[in-house]
């Protein structure tokens, strides 16, 4: 396949992606929308120059592999070519987490309704992405499935609207929960198991520059057959946990500490155990003020 170049606008970032792997270009065309495509401009600035390509000619034909390049450097070992698209998404997460210092970035999903955003930090496997996907399929706006990007001055949350990465059982759960949801291809045997991406709803894409104010922080935990439980969490403990969940807190130093302390000051923080998505969504609706 000839090299395809995608100039992607994923506010607040601009990315130039080059790839000669059809699995990548097919997924980009399926999962991103016209809002993401920049009209050609030779002098366009890009935050990240990414290439996803076969590492050598040999690896194009023998046990084909994909390699991820950021600004010409390969920070990771190559992966089987069948995982080329998730490799792009993971690599882009790494680029944003490693090189963005103008915002505080937390490992968390962010969804919003009535300009009231809920931050969902979570350890891997806690059910953060599943809950996030169910909420955006139920009318909440997606800001991000992977990272809460916080403006250091205004404390507003910036959207980084990208496909929601779902893993293993979550793929079937969300397919059944929202039969009309659009999914990309399914990728097997990745380091995270089976992976598929949910296309962000059109409404979220159209509003991919609209910031939101944090209203609540919820640490979700999916526990099979558990009764739903929403427990208040102390703000100080929340600061500690968010600091641990941040990609660049230690780089920002005191500024990061000040931002986290200010962020939690006027909002409620909870731990949330759930086993039913329907119940969880009803609970989320009660947390925000109707407008």
């Amino acid at each position: 396949m000839p090299v395809q170049v995608y100039d992607l606008s994923i506010p607040p970032f601009q990315i130039r992606l080059e790839t000669d792997i059809s699995l990548v270009s097919d997924s980009i065309e399926k999962l991103y929308s016209k809002e993401n495509l920049l009209i050609g401009n030779e002098n366009q600035f890009f935050d990240f120059h990414i290439k996803v390509t076969t590492p050598t000619l040999y690896r194009k034909y023998f046990r084909p592999q994909a390699q991820f390049f950021s600004d010409g450097k390969a920070p990771f070992k190559p992966l089987p070519i069948s995982q080329a698209y998730p490799f792009f998404e993971w690599g882009l997460n790494w680029c944003i987490a490693s090189y963005t210092y103008q915002y505080l970035i937390l490992h968390a999903a962010v969804i919003e309704k009535n300009n009231q955003a809920i931050i969902l930090p979570g350890k891997p496997g806690a059910g953060k992405s599943t809950l996030c996907a169910a909420l955006v399929c139920s009318g909440w706006r997606l800001l991000s499935d992977e990272m809460a990007v916080i403006d250091l001055q205004t404390l507003e949350l910036l959207p980084v609207v990208r496909p929601v990465s779902l893993k293993n059982e979550s793929i079937e759960i969300i397919s059944e929960f929202a039969p009309d949801a659009e999914f990309g291809d399914t990728f097997f045997d990745t380091a995270k198991g089976v992976v598929s991406h949910l296309k962000p709803p059109e409404e979220s894409m159209k509003n991919n520059r609209r910031r939101a104010k944090a209203h609540t922080i919820i640490f979700p935990q999916f526990t099979s057959q558990a009764d739903m439980k929403l427990t208040k969490k102390s703000r100080a403990e929340t600061v500690l946990e968010l600091a641990r969940n941040s990609f660049n807190y230690s780089v920002l130093g005191q500024q990061g500490f000040d931002v986290l302390c200010e962020l939690v000051t006027e909002i409620n923080c909870f731990e949330f155990e759930y086993s039913s998505l329907d119940e969880a969504i009803k609970q989320f609706e009660t947390l925000i003020e109707k407008k």
Binding site: S234, R235, A236, E237, V239, L240, A243, S250, G253, Q254, F257, D258, C261, V264, T265
Partner: protein, 90 residues
């Protein structure tokens, strides 16, 4: 001359609800500390002091213990804070 303890540059602390947070720019540590430890830092913020001065100034009555144990408490706290890049000896 008795050793004095001083707050390291870049240490900030905040009182949120009923809990006390400390951040050190040197060690990049964020901690939730006990109220007495927080008061100790507030005292050191004014100017450096010895462990004995700190023992006298802090309200350690809730510990209901001998004077030696109260001093041990302060010494242990100062030792931990030294290790975590929050205070230094001068």
């Amino acid at each position: 001359m008795a050793v004095k303890y001083a707050l390291l540059e870049g240490v900030v602390f905040k009182h949120i609800d009923k809990q006390f947070l400390v951040y050190s720019s040197l060690s990049r540590e964020t901690l939730v500390v006990h109220e007495i430890a927080y008061k100790l830092l507030s005292l050191l913020k004014i100017h450096p002091r010895t462990d004995e001065e700190l023992t006298q100034l802090l309200n350690l009555e809730p510990l209901k213990d001998s004077e030696n144990h109260k001093k041990d408490f302060v010494d242990l706290t100062l030792e931990q804070f030294s290790r975590l890049g929050i205070v230094e000896t001068i």
